[in-house]
């Protein structure tokens, strides 16, 4: 196959043209979908972001970059960015290590690993809306209705905690739910990566006198590095764009304590009817995610030793 293609040295040969035509035809459906549902909305958002527009009727009130100026000086938006970054940091320092530890624990030798794998992966299968509603019930401040508070008040001297109604702990509660929801996904990715690590390397290390910790530190983690990089990338982008869990559980409240960029965008775009401003927020989010993605892929991703994920 490869040879056949190479033999057509002249790029204008009929065979080459046919090849390109085939490629084009196969790409066409995906490309059309990509244009219509991705590129077009982005271009429209950028266009609308330069208007003062309430979303009803045509946009006529052109205001240039005023929306962007306003976003960057808005304290609540900065709070949302701060919350997003906090979730990113917590995800990377708590959620991913937890997933990795569990993956190593249940990854290979444990009896009944299929059982644990299923249990741990289950939250990820639930839709985010259902997850949010389940946790809304668990977090209910009334001990007769909220399971966690029902347990808490059994401890002498402990009073019911208004988890989602307290500006100081609401973000921590959201993070607990995010972790519960997503650690299974990362664990599964790590487990897939672990399967790819050849036994011989570990055996050789064991013969050389490596203990369990050294094995993990010098063999497992380096050979998992490409998977780890993928999960970091997924985790960061997921944290930056998180919406449904936060919106359903707290609507970004109380008083913006759990505001993230996506809920901020929604509040201004669809609740306050400032579609132009909301579009500008979406553009800012896109830029933040894009800058991170490009920088991360350029700077961080190392060559892949095992051809993994």
């Amino acid at each position: 196959m490869r040879k056949v293609v190479k033999s057509g040295r002249n790029s204008h040969s009929p065979r080459k043209v046919q090849d390109n035509l085939t490629v084009f035809l196969f790409l066409l459906p995906a490309f059309v979908l990509f244009l219509v549902f991705l590129v077009y909305p982005i271009v429209r958002s950028i266009y609308f972001s330069t208007f003062d527009w309430n979303g009803l009727g045509p946009a006529v009130d052109f205001i240039g970059l005023d929306n962007f100026k306003r976003i960057l000086t808005d304290k609540i938006f900065m709070k949302a960015v701060g919350n997003c970054l906090l979730i990113v940091v917590l995800s990377l320092t708590l959620q991913l290590p937890l997933s990795l530890t569990l993956a190593i624990m249940v990854g290979r030798d444990l009896p009944g690993k299929a059982f644990f794998r299923t249990i741990f992966f289950m939250p990820y299968v639930l839709s985010e809306v259902i997850t949010a509603i389940i946790w809304l019930g668990l977090f209910n401040p009334d001990p007769e209705r909220g399971f966690i508070n029902a347990l808490l008040i059994l401890i002498p001297g402990v009073k019911a905690v208004p988890f989602l109604g307290d500006t100081h702990i609401v973000l921590a509660c959201i993070f607990v739910v995010l972790t519960w929801k997503f650690f299974g996904l990362h664990m599964l990715l790590y487990m897939a990566g672990l399967q790819n690590i050849p036994r011989e390397i570990e055996e050789a290390a064991l013969i050389d006198g490596a203990n369990r910790w050294k094995l993990i530190r010098y063999i497992t983690i380096p050979l998992l590095s490409s998977t780890i990089q993928t999960t970091i990338w997924l985790s960061v982008l997921g944290s930056l764009t998180q919406f449904p869990l936060v919106w359903i559980m707290t609507k970004g409240g109380p008083v913006n304590a759990s505001e993230v960029m996506a809920t901020y965008m929604y509040r201004y775009g669809f609740v306050r009817f400032w579609l132009g401003y909301g579009s500008a927020v979406a553009v800012v989010m896109l830029l933040i995610c894009l800058v991170f993605s490009i920088a991360y892929l350029r700077l961080v991703r190392q060559p892949d030793y095992l051809g993994g994920m």
């Binding site: 979303g55 009334d142 609401v170 609507k251 109380p254 669809f270």
Partner: protein, 442 residues
Amino acid sequence: MSRKISILLSLVFVAAFALSACGPKATPTAAPATEAPATEPPAQPVTISWYHITTAENQKAVWTKLADEYMAAHPNVTINITVMENEAFKTKLTTLMQSGEPPDIFQSWGGGVMNQFAEAGLLQDITPALDADGGAWRNTFSPGALGVYAYKGENYGVPWDMGMVGMWYNKTLFAQANIANPPTTWTELIADVTALKAAGITPIATGAGDKWPTAFWWEYLATRLCGQAGFVAAASRTGSFADPCFVEAGNKLVELVDLGAFQDGFLGATWGDEATAMGNGKAAMDLMGQWAPGAYNDNSPDKKGIGDALGFFPFPAVEGGAGGAADGVGGGNGFAIGKNAPPEAIDFVKYLTRAESQVQCAQAGFCVPVVKGGEAGLTDPLLKLVQQGAQAAQYFQLYYDQYLPPAMGSVVNDTVQAIVAKTMTPEQGAQAIEDSAKTEIK
């Protein structure tokens, strides 16, 4: 050779994909409408989409029954009902409106939000239908309620309910705290809150997570303190929302917060949580509109709420305020008509707002009738109190978040939440609302 076949195959696939994607919709469209003679209308199938937010089972059944009756009488009409919870509906409506495809008939509170839709040409002017036959339909309504659904003199919807926000209270819990009579002044209210606290009872339930239930407190305080003149001046930009009376409204609200008057976790609570607290006898008072008793019942395990223990009193007078003690804050529910609605939709809304229909919704306890003759269904003594309160009001203020432009209404709600959470002082809150008024009221 094989390559040719593969190209051919791919072409077929692409073509199949393109065709299936762009193919005409399977639903056959009705034959083009000819001028229908009035005498014998040909039964052309008409579909009406109707969005309402009456979710309690027994109340929802009333709307469904009326729709079924109408469809039975008009076999060519199909009414598609979508029932949504209040908050979900507001979200859904926003996207429907922005897509330019409003439902034919949908829940509306009139005021600023409806005006914005009307201005964008998304609603149908039904003034001609109201005025037909010498204003036969128009004259059935109480004019004040109908006016809420008018923008620049044209009606884009009609009301089916008009009531007032007031204090719902639990008589049993009041008795437990040895409170003989409901409070009539702010000082008495504060004393009662203290007494209830001392008796270990949660004085007031509110849902600051949904914002608007708590915003009622600030709006009522502002109505009592600033009076009609103060609000009208601020809203017409001859006055200011940063005036001392609006700041004082915030101070009074903070006074309640400092007393611990609201239930634990009220900052994150929704209106549903608030209704559950009242319906299960866990809070003594709730500032809410005429739909509250139905919601309390629906949120209690036996669907009966607290029964006869529920009472109603008007929002207390505030000493030194410019507003009268009988002034009311409130509003009602109505149906707006989408721009593409067929004439049958208007006819159906006419059916829904007949006196007989109004009697039924009043009997089910979810409307305070706005049509003459409808009050016959108002057997509930509490709803009668609400109706009398609304009628007695010298100055009746529509909820701020409905009266003001939507963006500003949303700022009012957000700001009140910030005031009760103490992330804003009452001064900062009043200023934030004033800043919003500067840009939103033109």
